[in-house]
Amino acid sequence: MNEEKVKLPDSLLEYIGQWKNKKGNVIMVLHKVQELYGFIPRAVAMEVSTLINIPLAKIYGIITFYHLFKLKKPGKYRISVCLGTACYLSGGNDIMAELENILGIGVNHTTDDGIFSIEAVRCLGCCGLAPVLVINEKVYGKLKKEDLAAILGRYRNQEAAVKA
């Protein structure tokens, strides 16, 4: 049978309430879901489907069409490597390769401990700082691949400190 229904948080229900009667609301609602959960859990998508009366298939059509929407939980620290043209020409690909090498995971994957995930993005609009990567909100510009180990190390230490 159907998996258990999830109870949606009030903030989401309130947001859906605001958007419910607006046409073409589904993408805005999905943005909110992703903001709250970091991705779009299936059970939540099902609830949303009922609440705003959009078939689940359409929701999946949308989630899988737009690159920003995620079906899997990303890492605690989401690393977005810019592969816009300026960053590409300045070696964005090498940064990506080094990052994959250090973390041992590929693009759109999360480390086993759930701490890091890697995404590729197209132009963050900081071409003057190329090559650039962003960890959660923090931007690291004019990168060299030698810098990466230290940057990731800082986050690792932070995590270790939290645990300790």
Partner: protein
């Protein structure tokens, strides 16, 4: 509607302004190739093959999606267009396996046909195929992503026509595929197995689950007594597979064919339909007389519709007629009544149903009631398309077969039984009998015209001796929600029910254009097949189910009365709410 002047390949024509260039050209016998355009559906303009040149613009435009305009000068064929189209076609072929020889659509594939017409002799581009396994989860359909050319017809029909939303485009770009929502199978999705996707697919990406091998096995098994039944709508369509004019009635040839294939008794689902009417009309009469507050009664012979209601309108289940569908009724009669007469046990009989429908394959194991005879009442369902293939494999020359009769008593049917094949038919047949049950008289105008035809929702009021019976007919399941919402609203508000009797068939046009019928359906084909069905009705002297002497005999000697104890046990079923998604 006004007429515009256009030039196609330097010749001037006058055409209706609501046509697309593609349609206009077709009327002028100019064939522009396409793989995605379908007259049933809105134009997706996906395949890119129908490009034409329009004077005054440098770009090529899509003929399927561009309406004609006064003064247009169109070139549909020249060397450059040929080259561009050929490249596009080769690109599509580079994304499609070369497994024609073993494909179910072999010789009936639109892509294969185009490749032949374009004279493609080599593969210019490297093969790049989708790497996804086929979905074989349902008992009705197989979805093979590798063969999909992404035309989107199935999605369009599933969403816009059927309103089921089992299929959707998933992912994008080169990785785009057509699948249910998320990483689930069709069987876990809201799919109602209507098979309209398979009927509209230009290639072999969605096909009916082929059961011909099971039938051959059954026929070969000497311990079994193979019997068969043919659905009303199959007799007006099978002929197409052998080059006969669309809508030609081939009932007698089909009986002959099935005997030659090895079936020992040949029955007709139309008899089952007569039986269904006896039960369903009795239900209607009972409700009208004794429980008007339980109205409306909703027909339940279409298993896709049953599946749809259980999933989408579980709150309305109580309105469903509990009468089984005709082939299930006939199945159980074959394995009980007929078996007894032949001195056989239920398990000795091997029952095959020839159906216009993919969903019937699902229906035969739907609930416990489908095993009313003690064993599975129907062993195998073949679609019309499968029977056509089986016939060709058997070496039987269908066209030169004589007309034969069906076996009695489960083979003789009335005009009411056969019109089940078209939209409005169940309603009409039920009204003919219900009128008699209530009044003891024959309906004056036996052709109930208002419930016939291809309008999506048909409403009619039938006067039964002063009692106005309000009826509605919906087909193409996307149309159903209008009626269901009206009922829900009436229930909510306590207002009188807008309808007393509702007929629903999942496929647009009814079973004559069911998901398992021969390919290339459009409204012309629907009209011709429908005409065939009504012709068969006219051809019958007896046109009301209760007049069928064999029905009378069956009740008299075996079943007792409609809605009686035995009838209820063998001929009725029940329904339960089902989740839209199992995962």
């Amino acid at each position: 509607m006004s007429i515009v002047n256009i030039k196609i390949n330097e010749r001037t024509y006058q055409v209706n302004e609501d046509l697309s260039i593609l349609e206009a050209a077709r009327l002028m016998q100019v064939k522009i190739p396409t793989l995605c355009s379908h007259p049933d559906l809105s134009q997706s303009a996906a395949c890119g093959l129908c490009v034409v040149k329009l004077k005054g613009t440098s770009k090529m435009i899509r003929a399927c999606a561009t309406p004609v305009e006064e003064g247009m000068e169109i070139t549909t064929h020249d060397a450059e267009l040929f080259e561009i189209r050929k490249t596009v076609l080769e690109l599509i072929l580079s994304n499609h396996p070369n497994s024609c020889l073993t494909c179910q659509r072999n010789q009936e594939c639109e892509l294969q046909r185009l490749a032949a017409e374009f004279g493609i002799r080599e593969e210019s581009f490297e093969k790049k195929l989708r790497d996804k396994p086929a979905d074989t989860s349902t008992t009705s359909l197989i979805l093979d992503p590798v063969k999909c050319i992404g035309c989107g017809r199935c999605v369009e029909v599933c969403q816009k026509v059927q309103n089921v939303f089992a299929l959707e485009f998933i992912g994008r770009g080169f990785k785009m595929r057509i699948a249910p929502a998320g990483n689930i199978t069709l069987n876990e999705s809201p799919c109602i197995k209507c098979g309209q996707c398979s009927a509209h697919c230009p290639v072999g990406a969605i096909v009916e689950k082929d059961e011909t091998a099971a039938v051959w096995t059954g026929l070969r098994n000497e311990k079994l007594y193979p019997v068969v039944q043919i659905a009303p709508a199959t007799r007006v369509a099978l002929g197409e597979a052998f080059g006969l004019e669309t809508g030609t009635l081939v009932t007698g040839k089909m009986y002959a064919l099935l005997r030659r294939l090895g079936f020992k008794a040949v029955f007709d689902t139309s008899f089952g339909a007569d039986l269904t009417i006896m039960e369903e009309a009795s239900e209607l009469v009972d409700l009208l007389k004794n429980h008007p507050d339980h109205l409306p009664l909703i027909t339940s012979c279409c298993p896709s519709w049953v599946d749809y209601l259980e999933k989408f309108y579980p709150d309305l289940i109580e309105h469903f007629s509990t009468a089984k569908s005709p082939h299930e009724m006939l199945g159980v009669m074959a394995k009980t009544y007929f078996a007894e007469k032949q001195g056989l046990k239920a398990q000795d009989i091997f029952m095959t149903s020839i159906m216009p429908c993919t969903s019937k394959k699902y229906e035969i194991t739907r609930t416990d009631e489908m095993f009313a005879s003690g064993v599975q009442d129907i062993d195998v369902v073949l679609t019309t398309r499968e029977l056509a293939r089986m016939t060709k494999a058997s070496g039987i020359d269908f066209l030169s077969l004589p007309d034969e009769d069906a076996d009695n008593i489960l083979g003789e049917y009335t005009g009411a039984g056969v019109i089940f094949g078209a939209t409005g038919g169940v309603m009409e047949a039920a009204l003919r009998t219900a009128y008699y049950f209530i009044t003891g008289e024959k309906l004056a105008n036996i052709d109930v015209q208002p419930v016939r035809g291809l309008t999506g929702i048909k409403r009619a009021e039938i006067d039964i001796k002063g009692q106005k019976v309000k009826t509605a007919v919906a087909h193409g399941i996307g149309n159903v929600h209008v009626l269901m919402e009206e009922i829900r609203e009436a229930r909510r508000s306590g207002k009188p029910m807008p309808y007393h009797f509702i007929e629903v068939m999942a496929c647009y046009g009814g079973c004559i254009s069911g998901g398992g019928q021969p390919y290339w359906v459009n409204n012309e084909v629907r009209k011709k097949r429908t005409a065939g069905v009504y012709q068969d009705d006219k051809n019958h002297k007896l046109r009301m189910s209760h007049e069928n002497p064999f029905i009378q005999k069956l009740y008299g000697t075996y079943l007792g009365k409609p809605l009686g104890e035995k009838s209820k046990k063998l001929l009725h079923t029940d329904y339960k709410p089902r989740p839209l998604y199992y995962k």
